[in-house]
């Protein structure tokens, strides 16, 4: 039997003060799936994410990547499971967009031509062609978030984990990020997206996991469990699941232009 891409078994994390922030979490993430992990503030979502590539160690339980505990080779795990943090600024280390995207491949000790190839591909996938020499801290919030995604994509991960990627983004920023995620999913990347903002993305997911108080409250097809979200303190967006998206028509990102440039008036959200 082929093991799932990622299997979390009885994961438990207790803080030194005795607070159990993760309590017996067990779930599987299948290859090429698009999963949304939703929960209210303080439900343990971010702590859970940090466990996925070994930034935090569980009190008990384990995480298996292709059937192998992630702690056996943390370097490989971190290459295969890419994290995009909520605070994009914290993730940006390069002095230019291209240098930042190259940071991960450089750490993998790849050859310079391979690094350059991956940087080009990652920037193209994230809609940042033409931004190579821009300073990251001059980018808009949406562009920074896409750069954080590009920085992880350049490492060619199997799973992309995004923590609250829509925080602080306006509609065009969200829409561009959703375009990027859809492209990646089409290309076979497994996506795990952590959010409590279901209205922006749920229609794109094939699985929804609800988390509350460090436990899995429910999991399954978004259509089946959407009505349970308010039980854990997450607002249920109005309408059908199929309308829960801030995406707009797929489009190419023009080179050198910001997605949310002032001269580009976005259309009205589809909500």
């Amino acid at each position: 039997m082929i093991p799932p891409l990622l299997a979390i078994q009885n994961l438990r994390h207790v803080f030194p003060d005795g607070t159990a922030v993760l309590n017996d979490i067990s779930l599987c993430i299948e290859k090429a799936s698009f999963t949304i992990l939703a929960g209210p503030n303080g439900s343990g979502k971010t702590v859970f994410m940090r466990h996925l590539n070994g930034l935090m160690r569980p009190t008990s339980g384990r995480i298996l990547l292709d059937g192998i505990p992630i702690t056996e080779n943390l370097s490989l795990t971190r290459r295969r499971i890419g994290l995009v943090f909520q605070d994009a600024d914290a993730q940006i280390v390069g002095q230019t967009v291209a240098r930042d995207a190259a940071f991960g491949p450089e750490n993998l000790r790849l050859s310079r031509p391979e690094i350059e190839k991956r940087v080009r591909q990652a920037l193209a996938a994230a809609g940042l062609i033409g931004f190579d020499e821009r300073r990251p801290h001059t980018l808009s919030g949406g562009e920074k978030r896409r750069l954080a995604v590009a920085g992880v994509l350049a490492m060619e991960p199997d799973i992309l984990v995004l923590d609250e990627p829509f925080t602080g983004l306006d509609w065009p920023g969200c829409a561009d990020l959703i375009t990027v995620l859809n492209r990646l999913r089409t290309g076979g990347t497994t996506i795990l997206l952590i959010t409590h903002d279901l209205a922006k993305i749920l229609s794109h997911a094939d699985r929804l996991i609800l988390m509350n108080g460090g436990r899995i409250h429910a999991e399954g097809n978004p259509l089946d469990i959407i009505n349970e979200v308010e039980e854990i303190g997450v607002r249920r967006p109005e309408g059908d699941v199929s309308t829960m998206s801030w995406a707009r028509e797929p489009r190419d990102f023009p080179a050198g232009s910001a997605a949310d440039a002032p001269d580009k008036k976005p259309e009205k959200p589809t909500l």
Binding site: R50, N53, L55, S75, R78, R79, G82, L83, F85, D87, D89, A90, Q91, V93, G94, Q95, T96, R99, F103, G104, P105, E106, N107, L108, R109, L110, S111, R112, I115, E133, R135, H137, G151, V152, M155
Partner: protein, 258 residues
């Protein structure tokens, strides 16, 4: 504080920006030694050379205003304390004798000048060199050491220069938030500093934590693929231009520290 821009890297395409970072490091070391150990003429020659390269790198004098103001305060303290340390012959102005010495004041002025030259040289290196290239250059220069050691020095340098602007920005945000809640009404500067110190330290630690996690998640290593470094003919000419005036001043004036 946000406009301080001291030790911030500014990307550019000037001849100095494209200069090999290993030679830049060598030049910084040589300038620092000459400025510290040489006489006043040698220090002045180094200063003029550094200013010339700042001009070539396109450094904006406006951006240097605040660092220079900071230096001026430090310089005043250095000069006055040197004057007090060496009270003879005393300074007399308009028949009034001050408890500070002229020789001490002159010595202090030279020390302040040396400090200025070294600050300007450090700023020239940091503002024109990508921290990743600088780290690569440090790794190459220190290649005789175990990789772990040279990697640690290079990474520390890269991270300091990379994250200084972010920490400055957060510090400024905390200060602005405190000012918007009436911090300026506290008369004592010490009380004002005390109010800001703890949140600033907490913020710096939190930022360090987030940065460390982000670096680890991207497989951070102290020995990554280095930049493509090569010394070209232009680099050799720049090196000669950088070393020529101070070396000539040292030769013609005997190099003795004044």
């Amino acid at each position: 504080m946000r406009e301080l821009e001291f030790l911030h890297y500014k990307p550019g395409v000037s001849i100095w920006h494209r200069h090999d970072p290993r030679l830049k490091l060598l030049e910084l070391a040589a300038w620092s030694i000459l400025a510290l150990a040489g006489n006043g003429t040698v220090t002045a020659a180094v200063g003029i050379t550094v200013l010339g390269f700042h001009a070539a790198a396109g450094t904006s004098p406006k951006r240097m205003r605040r660092p220079l103001l900071f230096w001026a305060v430090m310089a005043a303290a250095i000069i006055v304390s040197a004057g007090f340390a060496e009270p003879a012959p005393p300074l007399i102005i308009g028949g009034i004798q001050f408890p500070i010495g002229i020789t001490g004041l002159l010595t202090g002025t030279l020390r302040a000048g040396r400090l200025l030259v070294i600050l300007l040289a450090g700023q020239l290196l940091a503002s024109s060199t990508d921290p990743a290239d600088l780290a690569g250059a440090v790794r190459k220069i220190l290649s005789f050491l175990p990789k772990k050691w040279s990697g640690a020095v290079a990474s520390a340098l890269m991270l300091t220069i990379s994250f200084l602007p972010l920490i400055m920005d957060e510090t400024a945000t905390i200060r602005d938030a405190a000012l918007s809640r009436g911090l300026q009404n506290r008369k004592s500067i010490f009380r004002r500093a005390a109010v800001l110190a703890l949140p600033m330290a907490e913020s710096a630690l939190k930022r360090s934590d987030l940065t460390a996690e982000a670096l680890l998640s991207r497989c951070f290593t102290e020995d990554p693929t280095g930049p493509n470094l090569s010394v070209r003919a232009g680099d050799r000419l720049l090196f000669l231009a950088a070393m020529g005036p101070p070396a000539a001043a040292a030769l013609f004036t005997g190099f003795t520290a004044g």
